[in-house]
Symmetry: C2
Subunit: 195 residues, 2 copies
DNA sequence: CTTTTATCTGAACGTTTGTTCAGTTACGGT
DNA sequence: ACCGTAACTGAACAAACGTTCAGATAAAAG
C-alpha cells in the first residue's frame, strides 16, 4: 500500500499536532512514542516525518505555537482604564484562555526540560514577555497608589502561579461555573495586591 | 568481577534514591533509564534490583517518602493560637520545607501521571490530607471572622499554588533572602484571605 | 581461618525506540 | 484521460530500554 484514500496534508498535519499535544499532556513527552502518535492519527510512523523533521521539533513547535497564541490573544484585549481594571481584565483573560487549552498549558509548563538549550531559550523569552505585561500593570498600580506591593516581580509570579492553579482542579462539569471561579479568584488577587 | 570493595547496602541504597530523585527531577521519570541511574551511582544496572523490585516502585517509594515527610513535619509544628497566626506559621513552614527539597517537590507534583492507578490513589490521599489541614485553618478563620473567603476549598488550592510558585524561581544565591521571600508572600496570603 | 551471606558484575533476553527510505498509490492540475 | 507529485506504507536499521540471572568476590559471622 501507499498513499491512502482521503489523505491530505491539510487534514493530517493538524491531526498530528492535536494528537501529539494531547498525548504529550497525558503521558509526557518522553513517554510518548512516535508510533503511538501515528497510531492515534491513523497512519504509519514514517508518515509523521512529512510534517516534522523530528520529535523534538514537534514538541518545540507546539510550545512555541501556544506561547505565540497566548501573547497575541492578550495583545488583542483592549486595555481597560486604570491599573485595577486592567488587572481584573487580565485575571479573567488568563483563567479563560488557559481553561480552554489545558493540554497546551500543561506542556508549556512541564516539558521545558525536554527542550534543547536553544529551543528552551526561545520559549523562555516568550514567557518573560507575558510576565512583563503583568508586571507592567502592577507597577502602574503601585505608581497610582491603588496597589501596595513590596516586590512587583514576585507579586507577578505569585499571581500567575495562583491563577495557573485553576487548571489543576477545574472541570467544566464541576461544582462551580467559570464565572464563579473568575469572581472568587479576582477577589483574592485584588485583595492580595491592594493597599 | 563481582562484589566491589567497600560495597554496603547502607551506602548504595540511599545513594540510589538520591540519584534517582535528582535525575527524575531534572529529566523526568520516563526520560531517565535504569542504566543512567546506575552509572551515576557507580554500579551496574542489575545491582539496582537489589534495592527496588522495578523502576515504578522506585518512583512510588520516593514520592510516598516525600509526602510522609511533609505530613510528619507539619504535624510536628506546634499549632499557634488563632487562625491568623496558624496561617502565618503554615506559610513559613510550606515555603521553607519545599525550598529545602526542590527535587522531591518537583517530582511529587509532576510525575503523578507516571504512577499506576493504585499508587496514584495512595499519593493523592496523602496530598488531600495535607490540603485538608490548610483548609481547616481557613475554615476556622472564617468562623472566627478574621478571614473572608467565599470558597475555602478553592482558597486552599489558591494559597498552596501561590506558595508552590516560589520553587520555580527561588535560588538561595538570588536577590532575596528566604526571610524576605517569606515576608512578601505572607503579606499577599494574609491580604488575600482577610476580611 | 573457614564458612556463610550480602553485594555486585557482565552478559543476555525480548521489546521498543527514533528515524530513514525505496516503492506504491491517490490526488490536483491540465 | 493523463501526468506529475504529494502522501503514505512497510520494512529495515542500530541503539537503547527494563529486567533477569548464573557466577564471582568482598564482607560479616563463627
Amino acid at each position: 500500500m501507499a498513499r491512502t484514500q482521503g489523505s491530505h496534508s491539510g487534514i493530517t498535519g493538524p491531526k498530528i499536532r492535536e494528537t501529539a499535544l494531547r498525548l504529550f499532556a497525558q503521558q509526557g513527552y518522553a513517554a510518548v512514542s512516535m508510533r503511538q502518535i501515528a497510531k492515534d492519527v491513523g497512519v504509519q510512523a514514517g508518515a509523521l516525518y512529512n510534517y516534522t523533521p523530528d520529535k523534538q521539533s514537534l514538541l518545540f513547535s507546539l510550545m512555541k505555537g501556544h506561547m505565540a497564541e497566548l501573547l497575541a490573544a492578550w495583545d488583542a484585549v483592549p486595555p481597560a482604564a486604570g491599573a485595577m481594571e486592567r488587572l481584573r481584565t487580565f485575571t479573567g483573560f488568563h483563567i479563560r484562555f488557559h481553561q480552554e487549552r489545558p493540554d497546551a498549558v500543561f506542556i508549556a509548563y512541564m516539558e521545558l526540560r525536554n527542550l534543547t538549550a536553544e529551543n528552551f531559550a526561545v520559549i523562555e523569552t516568550l514567557r518573560r514577555d507575558y510576565e512583563n505585561g503583568v508586571e507592567g500593570i502592577l507597577k502602574e498600580g503601585v505608581e497610582q497608589g491603588v496597589f501596595r506591593i513590596s516586590d512587583t516581580k514576585i507579586a507577578t509570579l505569585a499571581v500567575i502561579a495562583m491563577l495557573n492553579g485553576v487548571n489543576t482542579w477545574y472541570r467544566s462539569e464541576g461544582r462551580l461555573s467559570l464565572d464563579e471561579v473568575e469572581r472568587v479568584y479576582w477577589d483574592m488577587v485584588q485583595k492580595a495586591v491592594s493597599a
